[in-house]
Symmetry: C2
Subunit: 198 residues, 2 copies
DNA sequence: GTCTATATCAGGATAGAC
DNA sequence: GTCTATCCTGATATAGAC
């Protein structure tokens, strides 16, 4: 049944891309299974042939969005400084903020995670750690240098996620733009902040 | 009818404190009017004598939380550097992250704002701008210095809001602690980041 | 695997008694 | 102003036909 299997796989992917976009833009509670399936060109009943529950879909969609984004924005393996900077600028762009393509679930769904079950939260956390790892320079040798690298990467990631989340929340477009600019400046400077509490 | 008026005012405040805590910790959609009113010691029907809708309560609760927090944590008017730093450290503490007192709606509800109506979003935005203003040093005279002050304040606020939101989202407690530490370091350095794109 | 139909339930909002 | 009782809608999940 090669055809049938292929068909199922295509349906599943269609549901995932649709759900990833809708969840990111509207949040978990404001998206219904009906809405997802209709946008994917199917009806509600077909849903449970692919996913066991709405929560299950949520976790899968977050992972799917992360994988898709990583694939197209950052090359696998080690990235150059230039590639990293381009990625940061794109992340903190107004286009991303307004929900272009499949928006990043890290920024769009941060404060939604606290209410979700273990499966969803652990998926989100893994995606977060993946991003942190990708933003590290890995130039330092000693463990002290590594710790500083880690701290700098965490600060960058928080500024990226926080910047997009805040800009998206704000009512005032001009201020939102200003926030994005400030965060680009903050996250692009390398190393952005030098200060350990030793 | 002094007694009656006073009674109503007390009920209203009881509803507001209860709602502010519940909304921040559980999000708008995961809190029911029933839940709020029961926790406040009343029943559902009494709700509409105080607020016109759940959304109305949401906006009022955000404002109430902000005013309450501002009152107890930061003195009105100009703050000293030391007071500002204590505030930043308390904001990025694990106690705040875990929902002590009435948590800050800015951090706990960031990614919820995008789905809310104008009234709620504008309330949130006003609270945000209030925090930005409080964190500015106001030492500079020229407009260029002012712009840098503004940028630095925005970076700090994003790191505070983003740090708490991310730490709260994470599944991994050790990593969450690390995030908070990194953000404290980042937000406490003054000026944290020097870079304008001129 | 996908459809239509339906059981079931939670939650927002209103009506009317006290 | 607060209570109980009720209406109504929207949404998850399941059952059974094709």
């Amino acid at each position: 049944m090669a055809w049938s299997e292929d068909h199922k796989q295509r349906s599943r992917e269609k549901i995932l891309t649709t759900a990833a976009g809708l969840f990111a833009r509207q949040g978990f509670d404001n998206v219904s299974i009906d809405q997802v399936m209709q946008a994917a060109g199917m009806t509600r009943g077909a849903f449970y042939a692919h996913f066991s529950s709405k929560t299950d879909l949520y976790a899968e969609a977050i992972l799917y969005a992360a994988n898709t984004a990583a694939e197209s924005y950052l090359p696998q393996g080690q990235a150059t400084d230039q590639q990293r900077e381009a990625f940061i600028a794109a992340y903190l762009s107004e286009a991303h903020c307004q929900g272009a393509d499949i928006p990043c679930p890290l920024a769009f769904l941060v404060s939604d995670m606290a209410h979700q079950d273990e499966g969803v939260r652990s998926t989100w956390s893994q995606v977060f750690q993946g991003l942190v790892k990708r933003l590290q320079n890995n130039t330092g040798e000693g463990s002290a240098a590594q710790a500083e690298e880690q701290q700098a990467a965490l600060q960058k990631v928080v500024m990226m996620i926080g910047g997009v989340a805040v800009a998206r929340a704000l009512n005032d477009n001009a201020l939102a733009t200003e926030v994005l600019e400030a965060c680009r400046a903050g996250a692009l400077s390398t190393p952005p902040i030098h200060l350990s509490e030793e």
